[in-house]
Amino acid sequence: MILYNIILIVIGVFALADIYKMIAGPTIFDRLLMFGVLSAKIVMAMVIFALMTSQSYMLDIAIVYTLLSFVSTVLIARFVRSRGMML
């Protein structure tokens, strides 16, 4: 159980580094890429938390979060297509 706590803290540090790169990215495409990486980190933390508590309601939320992050990434990438360097 102490291993899961350490893993959650490490994933949190990685997520903070992702947020730093998201703020510091020069264009919108760097920020969009970091958003995909950050949502993958959040799904990892959700699975570890569900394993810690042995409750499976968090896994349903993780399934929905995976699909929503995919849909939002593709939607923003299509929206800023061919004019993203002006933003």
Partner: protein, 99 residues
């Protein structure tokens, strides 16, 4: 079974650590798109397999398998969409620039 699952989870975290070092190491966008697949695909899949190996019952493991398959399908598609959008917007790598 529990020790093998813990080893696979730690291997997934190490893959994510390598990906984070790559994100801070590479300077240009097109080099960073490649290293994100190390986090999204390799690290996440190892962590999901390790979590499914020590789940308490079968429905738990099936839900983790659904998450693994979904992320394995959607992460290359989303990185491809971002890369295609950047290329169409004129985000080019200059010649002679170090990655």
């Amino acid at each position: 079974m529990s020790i093998a699952g813990n080893i696979l989870i730690i291997a997934g975290i190490v893959m994510a650590l390598i990906g984070m070092i790559g994100l801070f190491r590479f300077r240009h966008f097109y080099a960073r798109v490649l290293i994100t697949s190390n986090i999204d695909a390799a690290g996440m899949l190892l962590l999901m397999i390790g979590a499914a190996m020590q789940s308490p019952d079968a429905a738990f493991a099936l839900k983790i398998a659904i998450i693994a398959v979904l992320s394995l399908i959607t992460s290359p598609l989303s990185s491809h969409a971002v890369l295609r959008s950047a290329r169409a917007s004129g985000y080019r790598m200059k010649s002679g620039e170090k990655p």
